[in-house]
Amino acid sequence: MSHQYDYIEMKFPSSAEYVGLIRLTLSGIFSRVGATYDQIEDAKIAVSEAVTNAVKHAYNEDEDGNILVGFAVYSDKIEIIVSDKGQSFNYEEIKSELGPYNEDDNVNYLREGGLGLFLIDTLMDEIVVRKDPGVTISMTKYIDESQVHSDGETISNR
């Protein structure tokens, strides 16, 4: 069966020290599909904000937890999912459960979370937040196809 995207998923301990590693991974995945420098940097901030939020709020200090980061890599976009409950999830299932972007919901969320969600919303092309169970943030960045050579070589390799 053919599929339209590659799905990469990682589980990290809910600890601040891993945020940098998640950014490095993101850089690698975005570079591979020919994302521009600005697209990569925008997505790095967005994913860091989501993970920072999870590290700060998802678990009590004496509680061990995991953060799940998934990348769905399409030909023209990358969807990043950050979930603060560390169970592996079925991407198709999560995708169908994520409702449309509810502005009222997110404004409330913004008040609690400060600038983080605002930045995600500003820097990414699409964002969906689901709050039960745990918090799952799905964010999508479109990759300009003109940046990709026909052989898949990226601009950064030139």
């Binding site: 020290e17 590693l21 983080g116």
Partner: protein, 108 residues
């Protein structure tokens, strides 16, 4: 992935230079340096971001808090060496107009 912070005291100003990535992991190190300076309120503060390769809302939050504390004491916060990428964050959050960014006359 770490951060190095150096502090230099000049007459009425502390100059804090950082290198590395400023995020939720490294922020406590900067807080540790800034906290006594913020409470004391006897000096202006200049933060040099020339060698900071990454920053997000965690850094912005620290600058907002520092600015508030310093202003209480009539002191100023200047942020210098801000790259285009990081400047964009100050712009989209509306913070650019609230603090002195890249205004230093002593650009190295």
């Amino acid at each position: 992935m770490n951060i190095n912070i150096s502090t230099e005291e000049k007459k009425d100003e502390y100059i804090i230079a950082m290198s590395g990535e400023l995020d939720v992991y490294t922020a406590p190190e900067l807080q540790e340096v800034l906290n006594p300076i913020r409470q004391d309120g006897s000096h202006h503060v200049k933060i040099d971001l020339s060698d900071v390769s990454y920053m997000d809302s965690t850094g912005l939050g620290i600058f907002v808090g520092t600015l508030k504390d310093l202003n209480k004491h009539g002191k100023e916060l200047r942020v210098t060496g801000v790259s285009d990428r990081i400047l964009r964050l100050f712009e989209i959050t509306g913070l650019r107009d609230l603090m002195h960014i890249n205004e230093s006359s002593e650009v190295e």
